[in-house]
Symmetry: C2
Subunit: 214 residues, 2 copies
DNA sequence: CTGCTTTTTGCTCGCATGAGCAAAAGGTAG
DNA sequence: CTACCTTTTGCTCATGCGAGCAAAAAGCAG
């Protein structure tokens, strides 16, 4: 293993010392990985399949550009998170009240499914498939937790401002997360799944569930 | 391969011609499998781990009593389903109105988690880990679907009887399924998870979400 | 030479198989 | 009933085979 490759290892570092071509390769492989994971699931997403999807001759390429499967998965999660955040955040922050933001969160999540149909299935697969094993998994499990926590906090603030009714924010957020994931899973193997419609339905559902009782 | 063993193959058959010892062994192995799957996830639930959990000296034992991993997983799912049905059905059917039954469905599901903490995590793992591959998976994916469909039908009837408000039953049922699964997942790695409390919270949440708007 | 790519090789792990062994069940003859 | 033999049943162990990951070796371009 060459010295530079060890520079690729461990995501937390800067890792900015990358060639253009190397960055392009990594992006190409990550995209292929997302595709494969979404299609066949995390368990069956082998280097061989990913290489084939990326149009590479063999798995050596992946081993060269990534420190290992962990490194690749970390990149996959980071990429999906990055895209999702870029897409959803402005759409959420465009609204002022907590209920509107909650709705925007849900609907933009489903709208994102139209833009990048493979992203959400892939990340769900990786997160459920790794189970907190493998250094990287612990890392982005923590990332997911903070994301959930911030959502919980947002809901709690909405409650304190009297914009929501009375309920346990933690249960609510987990339920929401699970509901979205379940519909994402359904969308993967149902070709004519109307994401926008289901997004609206789910937003309505959680709107009713969180409304202040008059 | 002995003649009897081929009788073990393929679940759909009667397969009632089993010795006491054989039935006991299968049950023992299935229990161990449930335990292991719930603890380390489907992907890492190898014969080796299951054998160790069951106190067996080697994996050959498992291969002897089951036609393959498929056969074992089928049995795992069947066992969990059987227990869950026996537990939940009477608690649901004890109520008359659709909203009460929906609540009973949710709360009895969480109550079941106290009785058999490993069962629900295990089945979720198997169902998400197999992804419709492997003859058996398709089989109990179908079983799950019919279960979901019957729930959808129950909700639809409740709507027609004016006991629920207006919403898409399919979205609602998937959301509910996902919400339960998400909380099951959380319960697995959170030692002091109050299943009853979360069950009540979730039941409240879906009660508000499905109520007829006055 | 250096950076990048492809080919080749090594190693691990999980599942399945089949031979072989021990014990129980069953059958038969004295 | 008992002693012996045969068949069935339950289990262990060694081995094969395939898949997947990783890294080294070899080829190639700038």
């Amino acid at each position: 293993m060459r010295a530079k490759s060890s520079g690729n290892k461990q995501g937390p570092g800067p890792a900015a010392d990358r060639t253009f071509i190397e960055a392009a390769r990594r992006a190409q492989i990550v995209d292929a990985a997302i595709e494969v994971i979404a299609e066949v699931g995390y368990a069956k997403a082998s280097f061989t399949r990913i290489a084939r999807q990326a149009g590479l001759s063999s798995t050596g390429m992946i081993s060269y550009h990534f420190a290992g499967k962990d490194d690749l998965m970390r990149e996959v999660v980071a990429e999906v998170m990055r895209v999702a955040d870029a897409y959803m955040r402005p759409r959420i922050e465009a609204h002022a009240t907590a209920p509107e933001r909650l709705r925007a969160h849900i609907e933009s999540n489903f709208a994102l499914m139209n833009e990048h149909p493979k992203h959400l299935p892939a990340i769900v697969e990786v997160l459920t498939g790794t189970r907190g094993e493998s250094s990287s998994a612990r890392e982005f499990t923590a990332a997911t937790d903070t994301m959930m926590n911030s959502l919980v906090e947002a809901v709690r603030r909405g409650q304190e401002a009297g914009e929501f009714g009375e309920f346990d924010p933690v249960t609510m957020v987990y339920a929401l997360r699970g509901a979205i994931d379940a519909l994402v899973a359904r969308a993967t193997h149902d070709p004519d799944f109307d994401a926008a419609a289901h997004g609206r339905q789910l937003a309505d559902l959680f709107d009713r569930a969180t409304r202040r009782t008059p």
